[in-house]
Assembly symmetry: C2
Homo-oligomer: 222 residues x 2
Amino acid sequence: MKVNVVKNILDANDRIAMENRQRFDQCGLFAINLMSSPGAGKTTLLEEMGKGLKNRFKIGVIEGDIQSTIDAERVAKAGLAAVQIETDGACHLDANMIKSSLESLTLDALDLLVIENVGNLVCPAEFNTGEHAKVMLLSVAEGDDKPLKYPLMFRESKVLLISKIDLLPHVRCDVEMIRKTAKGLNPTIRIIEISSYTGQGLDEWHDWLAGQIATHSTHREE
Amino acid sequence: MKVNVVKNILDANDRIAMENRQRFDQCGLFAINLMSSPGAGKTTLLEEMGKGLKNRFKIGVIEGDIQSTIDAERVAKAGLAAVQIETDGACHLDANMIKSSLESLTLDALDLLVIENVGNLVCPAEFNTGEHAKVMLLSVAEGDDKPLKYPLMFRESKVLLISKIDLLPHVRCDVEMIRKTAKGLNPTIRIIEISSYTGQGLDEWHDWLAGQIATHSTHREE
């Protein structure tokens, strides 16, 4: 009985996610669902993406937080169009929350939409929001055993950004072990080591985004 | 309707949590529910607690993980009695999971029971397991905005361990800001800065535990 209820919720979520995806495709934008533990550096990365990409692409951000509008304020200051969802206790964003927030963004004008999920390495991976790609951050400060302990998010993600790589000399973390176990769970996952402080890896990340944006915006012309 | 279902689940959980608590009190042990984001250092801290306390106290550990038995193996190697709960996807431990795992521990022989929760700064705070105290870790690598963004866990915890304090020179984190906002949410919260690498703060943490163990084991004599 309980299983059925959960399954119905997920079915309903997937239906709304599909509607969201259709809107994204109609607008010719590329949408990512950005996920990680709390404090892995999602918002700081968005600030850097603002600096590196805002002259080339129009970027919108949906900020998911349990409480506070800190992140949306930071992102808006970085020159990106930001909307805040306060989940009021909920541990993840779902498709319906995204649908409701789309009214506050001029989707037609966007090239890239970033859905910054609640900081949580577990629950957000279970809910599609309509994104084209899930992207996760794992900070080296979190350690190298995380793919084995939180496998679903690694399985679901198209890109793994190993963040705070500048901290590597100061923590016990074997990056090769992360690469090996993540690839074991998800052989096609793209892995990029980044630091928002030193800039390492950001060009590669921005190039990947630019490629995806080009692919998806072509659809607009058709 | 949905609210009622959630409320019933929480009521049922609280009832079982009360039963767990009664067993802990009958056995004269002190039980904590240890919570944090993934990778804030819960298991490494347990290894250090093994070194610092195992000659004085008998310590049992219930390890909660979505998958894998890595942590229980680490803790057992540190000389503590360990039981693993694999939650198979669930993002938190609840009272019933703890109840089921108590059979595998010789509770009468224990002075301290540590319930190491799933790495998640959100959901575990909503579920009592019967513990006497919730204790949370926040790593300085996670940043100083976390009390504002994840307030429930800071409200629920008796002790906040600010972990990985050795990383402070390498990250942007204002510890005074964490102290101020955490105290704003929870004026009686005890805050200790620790590093499992350098040993900073561990004596203070162990002394706090020893005091609590003394208080609770007195009940056994009565």
